[in-house]
Amino acid sequence: MDGLLIPLEHVLLVAGILFACGLGGLMLRRNLLFMLMSLEVMLNSAALAFIAAGARWQEADGQVMFLLVLTVAAAEVAVGLGLVLQIQRRYRTLDMDAVTRLQE
């Protein structure tokens, strides 16, 4: 248990709660901006779980995965914000229930 002051189960519980919050936000919020933020929360919850696991077993893999998650999040935000801008320009709204052209 050296190097980890908080028990692993607790960290994983926090990560799970964070993930659930993000998932709930994704499903319930209608604003695209908030949905993107929910995604970020979910990514970070996963990253937290990786860090905790890496510390628990004294392995570098957890930190490597965290770096990867950070990169993915950055790329996702870049693409996501671009989409947000385009959708805002075209539809003058960010309400995703109003934007259903994917259907076609």
Binding site: M27, L28, M35, T100, Q103
Partner: protein, 611 residues
């Protein structure tokens, strides 16, 4: 020699080709010369063959070229000329030429004059091919050719739909027989390995035992073909309707030549039939049943051509009877004399309708004896020969058939009695026709008299019908002949006397007690007469058993029942598509939610299945 032989069927076919290709440009007179002249030339060539054969009876075989050669099967365009062929060729070209000459006047006013002669020439060519063929495949080619010409000529006046229907009926009914015959040829080829007639007969004699399964099967199938073409039971229904064509066509095709092709086929292949006694007996019974049915139906007909049509069916029944009892040469003899007197009667009937505003009902004629003397003479001689009155041509052939039937072992007297009843009926209906149409009060006045092109063929045929019985056919060595049958004198006298009895009855019924009013149009006052008038209602039976079910099936198929299944598949696909498309709402949150549900489901399954 080969060229002269090839020209016999070749000339009419060449003329037919010219008339078909240039029919519109050729004037009537040239068309008549081409049409009748080509058959006339062929008749001259045939006469040369006949004289040569009578001088020295040698069999001539000529191969013109190979028609097809596949693996170990080959068929040649080859002719085989023996006594039987010479007789058939003489009848076809001789009677055919007279009918062509007659047709020139009969069809002169028709708008399709050259088309008529094209078909007639094609018919004569095909018929000659049929009788001259050295192998059964070439024979079958001629066989189908005459069937096609029959179809074309029955439906010659195609603007009337009824004529087209009659032509189709003739074609379809004979097709049944032709299909059977083709099957028979297949059986012969698979079993004996050749279709050349002479090697075939030799091989059959060597390989087949009398009464075996294969001989009976093969000959029964061939008999099916003969029955179809020769209008015998049960495929006879097409012939009365085939009278829709021009009358000379009926004379040539449906009386003198084509319908006797079945008789020729059985006679040509008698070697096979002798190996299958069961089939030969069937031939006799088919002939007897047909001749009785048709003769009784002829008793009550009112249309002059229908009387003659039923009479033709009945007379071919006699030929089958002769073949069936093994009297092949009498069968061919009756074929020849029948060609003379039936062509005479048909041409006479054509002359009557030609001069009488196309009238065909004998009860609306009457008194023609003095008005159309040449035609009356024709009918008098023709009817006498048909009824087999002594010293006419028909007497010699029919008497021979009846006496041969009597000598047949076992069933002989029955066949003889049936044939005798038929002879009685024959004499009654033929003299009924003569007495009703030519005696008594005139019902319709003729508006013209037959000209020379019609009168001369009639007179020549009169002479042939009177004296044709004296012709001795050069059939020795071709057909087995037992000579004149030996029977008790009483039987001979009865056979001679019965037709006279029939004439006497007809005289009593139609001259002495001449019916004051003509019978009802639909044929007869009593149910029996109606039954006979409809030809024993065989047509109605076939309609009920075959035509109606077929029509029903066709109508059912018209609704495309099989398509219902595939349409069902299409509908199912469409339904599924609509259901799946409804899931695709385009709402992002709905998609995300389904992801989550799916994820949870996958995780649950993985966890459950984990050990």
């Amino acid at each position: 020699m080969n060229l002269a032989l090839a020209a016999i069927p070749g000339l009419p076919m060449l003329s037919a080709t010219l008339l078909i290709l240039f029919g519109r440009q050729i004037p009537r007179s040239l068309g008549a010369v081409l049409g009748a002249g080509s058959v006339g030339l062929s008749a001259v060539l045939v006469a040369g063959q006949l004289l040569a054969y009578l001088d020295t009876p040698t069999v001539v075989t000529a191969t013109l070229w190979t028609w097809m050669s596949v693996a170990d099967f080959s068929a040649a365009i080859a002719f085989h000329i023996d006594g039987l062929t010479v007789v058939m060729m003489s009848v076809i070209t001789g009677v055919g030429f007279l009918i062509h000459v007659y047709s020139v006047e009969f069809m002169w006013e028709d708008e399709s004059f050259s088309r008529y002669f094209a078909y007639m020439n094609l018919f004569v060519g095909s018929m000659l091919l049929l009788v001259m063929a050295d192998n059964l495949l070439l024979l079958f080619l001629g066989w189908e050719g005459v069937g096609m010409c029959s179809y074309l000529l029955v439906g010659f006046w195609y603007k009337n739909p009824a004529n087209g229907a009659a032509a189709r009926k003739a074609f379809v009914v004979t097709r049944v027989g032709d299909a059977l015959m083709a099957l028979g040829l297949f059986v012969l080829f698979t079993d004996l390995g050749t279709l050349d007639i002479q090697p075939l007969l030799l091989a059959a004699n060597l390989n087949w035992e009398v009464g075996g399964t294969v001989p009976v099967l093969a000959t029964a199938l061939l008999l099916g073909g003969a029955v179809g073409k020769s209008a015998q039971l049960p495929l006879h229904t097409w012939l009365p309707d085939a009278m829709a064509g021009p009358t000379p066509v009926s004379a040539l095709i449906h009386a003198a030549t084509m319908v006797t092709a079945g008789v020729y086929l059985v006679a040509r292949l008698h070697g096979l039939f002798l190996l299958a006694p069961a089939t030969l007996t069937a031939v006799a019974w088919v002939g007897l049943a047909t001749l009785l049915l048709a003769a009784s139906a002829a008793l009550v007909q009112q249309d002059i051509k229908r009387i003659l049509a039923y009479s033709t069916i009945s007379q071919i029944g006699y030929m089958f009877l002769a073949l069936g009892v093994g009297a092949f040469s009498f069968g061919i003899f009756h074929l020849m004399t029948h060609a003379f007197f039936k062509a005479l009667l048909f041409l006479g009937a054509g002359a009557v309708s030609h001069c009488l505003h196309h009238e065909l009902n004998i009860f609306r004629m009457g008194g023609l004896r003095t008005r159309l003397p040449v035609v009356f003479l024709s009918f008098l001689i023709g009817s006498a020969a048909l009824a087999a009155l002594p010293f006419t041509a028909g007497f010699y052939s029919k008497d021979g058939i009846l006496l041969s039937a009597f000598t047949a072992p076992g069933i002989g007297p029955w066949l003889w009695a049936g044939g005798l009843l038929g002879a009685l009926l024959t004499s009654i209906y033929s003299f009924r026709l003569l007495f009703v149409a030519f005696f008594g009060e005139a019902q319709t006045e003729p508006d013209r008299k037959p000209g020379l092109p019609m009168a001369i063929p009639l007179l020549i045929l009169c002479a042939l019908s009177l004296l044709g019985g004296l012709i001795s056919q050069p059939l020795d060595g071709v057909l087995p002949d037992a000579g004149h049958p030996q029977v008790p004198h009483l039987i001979e006298w009865i056979s001679i006397g019965v037709p006279l009895l029939g004439v006497a009855y007809a005289y009593y019924a139609y001259i002495v007690r001449r019916p004051s009013s003509s019978p009802a149009e639909a044929g007869g006052d009593s149910p029996v007469e109606g039954f006979l008038f409809a030809g024993w209602r065989v047509d109605a039976l076939y309609n009920l058993l075959l035509v109606t079910p077929y029509r029903t099936l066709a109508r059912w198929c018209q609704g495309e029942p099989i398509d219902h299944f595939y349409n069902g598949v299409v509908s199912l696909n469409r339904l599924c598509h609509r259901g799946l498309a409804a899931l695709q709402t385009g709402e992002l949150r709905w998609y995300a939610t389904t992801f989550v549900i799916g994820l949870i489901a996958v995780v649950a399954i993985v966890l459950r299945s984990a050990p």
